[in-house]
Symmetry: C2
Subunit: 321 residues, 2 copies
């Protein structure tokens, strides 16, 4: 049985340049670790679905990224996380929104897909599935972070309803992060093409610092923050979730390819620099098509991202190249 070269791409959020002297190294390490985790699955002949899940689990376990362990705090100083997976070979999907106490929300999203008849489960109902299927839980201490709490306090100081700092208002410290922590659209995601020609995507997020409890963005929404279809592409987004929801970003890229014959790049550029910007949206995405082309557009100053092709080395980027 002939196989094709695999490729995997990941992202760790998008945003504006930090004014601090940045320390980029730990971010590159985090992205490359995720790429290696996904590539190990693909190298062994595993599925794109398993690979993107492994890559996102790696990013969730890294405290630098806003997902899983590194999830930001809500306005109630709690954590509410969202995650999703989608299999381009079957159009099956699983997603959870508003969960806490789950070590790897993406694993729970996969469990919803594999072990229930549902696509999207929220809150306590989703956590119940985790308990029923032995998905690993984690206590509040695991998710606690002095840096994230300090972020919440800084954002709160700007007033009610603010979910990211207006950096024109005051100078902040970012503890060396290359992209301003307080203004970053923090999501992690992965897309992959496996050796069997199947596409898949996975996304996970802690949402917005100081967000209103119950707020859900595009990350767990099939067709918005995530989409995968072997006929066209796999997409994983990060940015101002409400705009990505309204623009149906993931499905729009698929539809432009399927119905208008656009390339992955043409479709991604049109969406990220077109409709999304017209309605005020900021952010970006990683995407891969069935031929292994990778496109990682963003309309912010930077986006943590990386790509790993079979036979190559993991490559990671933060600003424009």
């Amino acid at each position: 049985m002939s196989t094709i070269p695999f490729v995997i791409a990941v992202h760790g959020g998008a945003g504006t340049i930090s004014p601090d002297k940045p320390n980029e190294a730990p971010y590159h390490e985090g992205l490359q670790a995720a790429l290696r985790a996904g590539a190990a699955v693909l190298e062994a002949g595993g599925s794109a679905l398993d690979a993107v899940q492994a890559a996102v689990q790696s990013l969730e376990d890294c405290p630098l990224f806003n997902a899983g362990r590194g999830a930001v705090y809500t306005a109630d100083a709690t954590h509410e996380m969202d995650a999703s997976v989608m299999d381009g070979s079957t159009l099956r999907a699983g997603a959870v929104a508003g969960v806490n106490g789950i070590r790897n929300p993406v694993t729970l999203a996969r469990t919803v897909m594999d072990h229930t008849s549902h696509v999207l489960l929220i809150g306590e109902g989703a956590i119940r599935v985790a308990r029923e299927h032995g998905v690993e839980m984690a206590d509040a201490e695991y998710f606690h972070s002095e840096e994230r709490l300090a972020q919440l306090e800084r954002v709160r100081a700007q007033g009610a309803g603010v979910t990211a700092l207006d950096h024109s208002a005051q100078a902040m410290t970012d503890n060396g992060a290359p992209i301003r922590e307080d203004g970053k659209f923090g999501t992690v995601g992965a897309v992959a093409l496996d050796q069997h020609g199947n596409l898949a995507a996975a996304v996970s997020t802690g949402g917005l610092t100081n967000k209103r409890p119950g707020r859900v963005g595009d990350s767990p929404i099939v067709g918005a923050g995530i989409y995968a279809n072997n006929a066209t592409c796999a997409v994983a987004c990060t940015g101002t979730g409400e705009h990505f929801l309204r623009a149906c970003v993931g499905h729009d890229i698929h539809a432009r390819m399927a119905y208008r014959g656009e390339s992955l790049e043409e479709a991604g550029e049109a969406v990220v620099h077109g409709l999304l910007k017209e309605i005020g949206g900021s952010g970006g995405l990683v995407s891969v098509d069935a031929k292994g082309n990778v496109h990682m557009p963003f309309n912010t100053v930077g986006m943590y991202r990386g790509v790993f092709r079979q036979g190559g080395q993991p490559q990671s980027y933060i600003f424009r190249i």
Copy 2:
């Protein structure tokens, strides 16, 4: 300022024919009352957005339909309702999922759109918005229904995880409903074109009888159960929510029109009788385009639906015509 003739279409769910001698009259009355409520707004020069909200509020207030007052019971014998609105002139949207105690969930969805910076709010966080903005609440007694509880018991009797009756297994009574109550995909929805040329859609549901708490279908998801864009169409769906989510039904109809030049009817037929059926989905939708064409396709035996054109009379239908 010149105006164009308005049109509004509504639906009250889709499903299979009841074996009982049906009493169709109350269902026609409920659908036509909703059409009149929406048309009154449009006749006065009001917006499509206000009209679809008024129509869905009317359907939510009618105990015959599975939304608002008539919402079905979850596996926990509670109510968890989802609703959404979308404005085709701005692509703005508001949605709530997993709420209880809200008399008109569609009103809360509109409140999320008008009074928060968010699109989708779930559970307690959404209910908090209702309290903050004086959205009308209702107690458990308002939502209580002996018929709905009996439905829950009948579905439970078929076993865990079953969310609609397998009618091949046993004969049931439907209390005169033309479409089998226990197997119906209960959602209500409305789409409209106003005299100013703007499109809008609204959807509301109680979900599935005996559903797992936390389960969310397509109803509150922009691009799946609902979509509106002045450039193309407004769509409101009803059916097996998980399939509608995976097929991104609302946005797919828009995309086929925008990118492939299909008519409203061509796009709707392709989705409802094509991709949706291929992945196992059952249900239908009501849709209207910017020229006032209305299309109401379904792949079930019947769908409660109706249409009201300016200068005409409200027309309602249950089975094929």
